[in-house]
Every structure is written in structure tokens, then in C-alpha cells.
Amino acid sequence: MGVGFIMLCHTALDRAAAVARHWARAGAPVVVHVDRRVPQDQFAAMQAACADVPAIGFSRRYPCEWGTFGLVRATQAAAERMLAYHPEVRHCFLVSGSCLPLRPLRELQTYLASHPDTDFIESVTTSDVGWTVGGLDTERFTLRFPFSWRRNRRLFDAYTRLQRRLGVRRHIPLGLVPHLGSQWWCLTRRTLSAILNDPNRPVYDRYFRRVWIPDESYFQTLARLHSSRIESRPLTLAKFDHEGKPHVFYDDHLQLLRRSDCFVARKIWSGADRLYDAFLNPLPDASRMAEPSPGKIDRLFAKAAERRRLGRPGLYMQSRFPRAGRENGRTAGPYSVFHGFSPLFENFDAWISKSLGLRAHGHLFAPGRVEFAGGDDVFNGALCNSAALRDYNPRAFLTNLLWSTRGERQCFLLGPADNLGCVPFMAGDSNAQISVVTGAWAVPLSRAQGDFSAIRREAARLQRAEGEMLAALDLPHAKASVRVWTLADFVENPMEAIQAIFDEINPRAPHRLTEVPRMVDLSGLSTFLQQLKNQGMLPTLVGDYASIDDMLSAPPERARPYLVR
């Protein structure tokens, strides 16, 4: 003998009855409390279902609304009955109607017999817990809560605010140090009867009647007064989500629950036939004396809570569409953008692919076409190379591409003629590495044939687009890693610049770049720029182009100092 169960039920009474019968038949008395609000016929049906088992008793019914003192009244009444009718009980185990025993009663009895004077009740001071939902922790004990949080939320909130404003503070009865903890406990007969027979109980009861969620604090606080040894953890496995609602166990949790070695789990879905079958008709297993270890279940639910709260970075989908600033990572992974490199080097994307060992795209945002790596017409995630589809929502195009290629760094080329609609988005993305050579558009234009005034207009258009892009990259909230060179600065020492970019992409690269991309012929560029200037357009973004000629006339060794070192 040793343990007796107090069971609080309000729904799925058939399941509760089955569990009560299971324990009673195994030799532990059960006192059942059924919520007053349950219709009489359902209550009668449960009584009838338990009538053949004398070890199941029913206590006086109180209405048990969540967060109110009714739950404590119900527990007190059931506990009094348990202590009065079952003198052999050494430990009282408080469970709910949706709890399920995971281990045979014998193992629980043995476990409790080896801890005869220990009260298993989670009991911590308000300053130590971070899990209270709704911001009420100390105030649970110093304000009054006469209104129902479920039914009269507005009144509840308004009255709480009013008390805060008026500076109301309730007097906590002398000797009490408020403690909180899980509602489900297992107390010794000595502690429980001390709590119930305390001469100050009317004072305490009156005080707790207006405390918020007293079922999580009444016994937890009073046990501290009377217990000689408190083990501050519940024997019931019960997990709560980010809103304070209990997690529910289903059939597919069977193995997880088996391996948890906990004695009782809550809350079980009432339709979980397999769980009820498995645990109420246990196999004749050799008795183990394992300590409860709910670690795996903790991790499962912690992961679910994290998924609900933070989501997966870079994912935009039907039930996750964060507003600006709340993305927790705008995109799924790091990527590199090379703006203004393609006019300077022959097959620059192919060279990146080779040097970094990845697939680099061409101009993904080119007008009229999408240049996927290798010239593919569809890419990961079945992204299509239709420019119309891309331009319909360029940001979604980019985030989709990065989501579908998670774990594989994406590189692509950009230029002032491309669709630059994504640039402000990328500027605010810490995953973006954007390298810009300004004025590189001048290189292909310098070789263009035809009407110079048309060329001049094109140059002005590209320069304006590039200027707007630079403004977007320069915003104070920009998070991307941005490097900007003017064309003149860049061609002076291109490999040093590229080496810096690659070092950031792959900081542990074994050796420095040996193979060099082939730069196009820049002769004639400064003449072209001077011509632009003469026509009245100032190519400001190119930089000091006179130095380009100096560099071109210098001996090749000087132009490639990186090879010497």
C-alpha cells in the first residue's frame, strides 16, 4: 500500500473512468472529483462505470473554472476524503482525468516507498520562474482577480490596470512566501494533512480565493510551511506551449512516452486509442527502477515552441509571412552579388564557379531573361526562367531561390541594366555580400558602334540606375556586407579586391588565388570617357579615369603584385 490518487475530471469521463479503474484494480484507492458544470447524466454514467470497484470514491463537486479557486476547493475536498477513508495511503498523487499512467503501479509504489518523507511538488519563488504567461508573476499575489480571464477578459484586464494605477497591494498573510509550480503534485500524508488541518487555513483560503490561478500556488506555497523535504519537481510529465496551454500526446508519441520513464503523463488526447490500450494493458515487463527522464520529450516540445515563435529563417509561406524587420533572417542563407564585374572580365561567372567550386549564376535579373547557372531553363524548386514571372515578384524570386538551395552558397552577377528591384531588400539582409564596381558599364559602351548621342543617353541611364542603387545600399539600416570600388580604383589592383571578397566567402581557404580571370581590353576607355565629358555628361561613377591609362602603360609585373607575393 502507499499511494492514492486524487483525480480531477471535466471532460472525456469515459477515459478518466478507465484510468481510475486501472489504478483501483492494481490496488491504489482513487478519489474522483468531477467538475460541477458537467451534466448530471454524464456524472451518473461515470459513477455507474466505476460502481463495481469499491476503491473508487467520488467527492463533493465544485465548479472548476480555469484560473479560479474552485480547483483548489475541489482538490481539498477530494484530499480530505482520501485521508479520511484510506488510512493506509502514505502518498497522495494529484492527477487529472486526461492523465495516463506510463509505468505499472508497482514501480510507482516502490519508488515512493524509497522516498517515504519526500513531497514531490514543483515549488519555486516568483522571481525564479520565467514561464508565467501574460506578464503576471508577483502581481498574482498582490492584486485581486475577481473576474474570469476566460469569460470576461476585458474586465479582467481593466481591473488589473486599475489596481496598478491605484497602487493597490494586497497584504500577504504572515509567514507565507509565495511559491509557484505545476498544478500536479504528489504529497505525503503528513504534509497534506498538515495543510488541510492548519489552524490558519480559513485565513489562507480567504487570501488565495482572490489570487490568480491559485491551483498553481496554493499547495506549492503551503507545502513550504509544512514539508520537511521537498523535491521541487512534479512526477507528472506535463508540457506547456508558448501560450501556457498544455501539449497533448497522441498515438504517435507512444515510443517517446515509453522511453521517458515518467510515471504519469498529461495531457492525453481522448481519442488516442493506441496509447490507452498500450499503457492500461501493460506487458508483463520486468520491473525497472529507472528515474524519470523526460529529456527527449522536452526537446521535442521545445523545438515545436521555437518553430512557432521564430520560424525558419528565409521562409515565406502560407502561415509565415513576417513584416519588415521581424523576419529573423530575411533569406535562408548567405549569397554573393557581383555588380559591375561582368563587363570587366570574360566569363566571370564561370571563373567564380571554378575558383569557389560552386555554381555561379549569370545575370539573374537581366532584362528579358533569367541566366541560371549553366544556362538551365528551370532551377531548384522548379523556378522558371521566365523573366515575366521573375519581374512579377522579384523579391519572392530571390527568396525562393535561396530557400530551395539552402546549404549551397549562391553567387550571381548584377548590372545597372538589370531589374534592381531587389536591391533595397538585399541591402537590409545580413546574408547578402554585395560587391560593386561602379562605372563598369562604360567598358562595353566604349566599344559600341553607332550613334554617339544614343550611346550617351544609354550611359546616362545606366549611371542614374547605378546611382539609385548605391543610395539604396548606403541606407543607415543596411545590414549587408557591401564593398564599393570605382572602376578606376578597381582596375588598379583587381586581384586584391577579389581576394578580399573570396576571403570573406571562405575564410579558411587553403591558399591564395592563383588563376586570374581574364580582364577585357580597356584601351580606348579613357578616350571614350573624355568624349562623354565633352558631350556634357559627367561620368562621376567611373572615378579618376586618368589613372587607368597609367596602369595600362605600366609594366605587367606592377599590375599583378599578388602573383609575386
Partner: protein, 336 residues
């Protein structure tokens, strides 16, 4: 302005309910077995026309998920769909010969049925070619989902339409009655969906998938919407706005997290691209009863006539809901 906007939406909802009330006379009862429904029954609502060959698997699929009762509007079927349905014990059927288009594409009829039978119950509204997939649907029945949502006070569950297609020509694999359509339609697009917000109704507007990729690549704005809200704890004053894409009152459409978290969501596997599509397209083009003058059906006709393959080398082969969850097409939210 906010108040004015809200009032306008309220009027719109009242108008939908009024239309449903007026259209009630379109419906004549063929088999009404709703009298004995339990208060917590999970109901399925659908309109159909000549879907006899799809029905057996459809019923089997949703019975297995735990739908308690089916309520169908038979819009003038001539292939025996109505007879077949009225012989089933867990099905109620109403018949109408009236215009599908004038009934807001069947929505007025369904609104009337929902109003009368689904008040306070969970209602699943789907098309005959949509198969609901939700987190843990292989181990937990629909009732587990609705109980969980009741516990959290959630009133509606979103599910994006996921177009499934075969490899090769659509008419290359004939569909047999009773067959699982996804034995043929094994493929889907995993990551080419674009989302924007609808400020009026507060829902997300999702487009993309194989239809946008192959049939609307030049006019993406016209690509069909893929966002749907099929499962709702119905109240008699609710109304679907446009198919099941969104609802009124507007607060029911707030089914996504805007602070970076993920709420729970599912998918509707769309078994449209079966061999039976060919007959359907010919018939529907004649009837001219579909949305936007049957624009979609014209595209389907073109796609069927050309030697068209929706499959591409980045198509994903369907495995189970966990795969969809990993790909980010749906989410468990905090359900574990």
C-alpha cells in the same frame, strides 16, 4: 476610414448571406440524412458536376480522415453521380439545375448549407479534386486536429493548393475509378510560389506552381490563386468570399504569423491533371460557367492539345506530409 472599411465588409458579408438565402430555392433535396448528426460531427461540403469516376476514392479518403458526414450539391450531373451519392449512408445530397456562375460558382448554395448544418461544427469545404493534408495526418485523425484547435481557440486552418501532375502527357495515364490519383500524379513544384498580402481581406494571396510556370509564364498576374481556408469552425454568420480562398469576417483570414513565427497549416493536394481533365475541359468550355470566362480552362485546353509535359527536372516526387513540411510548403506550428 477603418470603421467605414469594416462596415463595407460587413455589408458585403450580409449580401453573401442574403444571396445564399435567395438561392436556397435552387436546391431540391435528394437525400437528407442530417437530422441525426452529432453536435460535434465533422462535416464536408462540396459541389460537383459529373464526377462519378472520382467519387469512390474521394469518399474513401475523407472517411479515413474521420469526416462524419458529407453534404453535396449536385449541379446537374448526368453520369449517375447523384444516384451513387444518395445510396451512401453518410451522405446528404441536394440537386440543382441552376447556373453555377450565377450562384457565385456554387458558393451561394454551399453558404446556405453551411449556415443550416455547420453552425458550431467543424466544416471542411473542398472541391472533388482536392485532398486535404495536414500535419500528422498519417497518424492523427481530423478530430485530433480540430480538438487541438478548439483547445487553442483557433477557428480556421489554412491549406495551400498544391498542384500535382504526372510525368509525361496528362492523357497518357488513364484514371480508373477508385484508384488513388496520386499513384499517377506523383510530382509537384516545391519552391516557386509567390505571396502578396491582400489588404482588404487580410489574407495572403499565393500564386505559382506548375500552372504559373507552364500556362501563365507570360501573364503571371492571371495565374490562379492557391491560398485556401478549407477547415473552419463554422458560425452561421460566416461566409466564404471567393471559392474558399478567403472568408468574412476578415479576422478569420489572419492565419499567418507576421512576427517571424510559423502557424500551423496544411496543403490541398490538387488532383486536377488526371486523364479525365480532357472531357471536363471540353464540357466546361461549352458551358462557360467558370471564373473569368473560363480563362483557366482555355489554357488547359491549349496545354492538353500541345504535347505538353508539366514535369521538369526539378519537379519533386511526393512522399508524405513531412516532406511538404521540410520543404516549407506547410507547417506544424507548435503542434508536436
Amino acid at each position: 476610414m477603418r470603421a467605414l472599411e469594416r462596415y463595407r465588409l460587413r455589408l458585403r458579408r450580409k449580401r453573401f448571406l442574403w444571396r445564399a438565402f435567395r438561392r436556397r430555392r435552387d436546391l431540391s433535396t435528394v437525400a437528407d440524412r442530417t437530422a441525426t448528426l452529432a453536435p460535434d460531427a465533422i462535416l464536408l461540403f462540396a459541389t460537383l458536376r459529373n464526377e462519378r469516376v472520382r467519387l469512390p476514392y474521394f469518399l474513401q479518403y475523407y472517411r479515413r480522415l474521420g469526416v462524419s458526414h458529407f453534404l453535396f450539391v449536385d449541379n446537374g450531373s448526368t453520369d449517375g453521380s447523384g444516384d451513387y451519392l444518395s445510396r451512401q449512408d453518410d451522405v446528404s445530397v441536394w440537386r440543382t439545375e441552376a447556373s453555377y456562375r450565377k450562384s457565385r460558382f456554387g458558393q451561394d448554395w454551399l453558404t446556405w448549407l453551411l449556415r443550416n448544418h455547420a453552425n458550431g461544427r467543424w466544416a471542411l469545404t473542398v472541391d472533388l479534386d482536392e485532398f486535404f493534408v495536414y500535419p500528422f495526418c498519417d497518424t492523427r485523425p481530423l478530430r485530433a486536429l480540430t480538438d487541438w484547435m478548439d483547445g487553442l481557440g483557433l477557428r480556421a486552418f489554412p491549406a495551400m493548393v498544391l498542384d500535382m501532375y504526372p510525368r509525361g502527357r496528362i492523357d497518357a495515364h488513364p484514371y480508373r475509378e477508385g484508384q488513388d490519383p496520386f499513384e499517377i500524379l506523383q510530382w509537384f513544384d516545391s519552391g516557386n510560389y509567390v505571396i502578396s498580402q491582400n489588404p482588404t481581406y487580410g489574407n495572403l494571396w499565393i500564386q505559382g506552381g506548375p500552372r504559373a510556370r507552364c500556362m501563365f509564364a507570360d501573364t503571371p498576374a492571371e495565374a490562379p490563386s492557391l491560398n485556401k481556408v478549407p477547415l473552419v469552425k463554422w458560425r452561421r454568420d460566416y461566409a466564404y468570399v471567393n471559392s474558399t480562398h478567403m472568408l468574412l469576417p476578415r479576422s478569420l483570414n489572419q492565419l499567418y504569423d507576421r512576427d517571424g513565427g510559423e502557424m500551423a497549416s496544411g496543403c490541398l493536394l490538387h488532383a486536377k491533371f488526371l486523364s479525365v481533365l480532357g472531357e471536363k475541359v471540353t464540357e466546361e468550355l461549352d458551358r462557360r460557367q467558370h471564373f473569368a470566362e473560363g480563362r483557366e480552362y482555355q489554357r488547359y485546353a491549349r496545354a492538353l492539345n500541345d504535347d505538353h509535359d508539366l514535369w521538369c527536372r526539378w519537379s519533386e516526387k511526393y512522399v508524405n506530409w513531412r516532406q511538404l513540411e521540410i520543404l516549407g510548403l506547410m507547417s506544424k506550428g507548435c503542434w508536436a
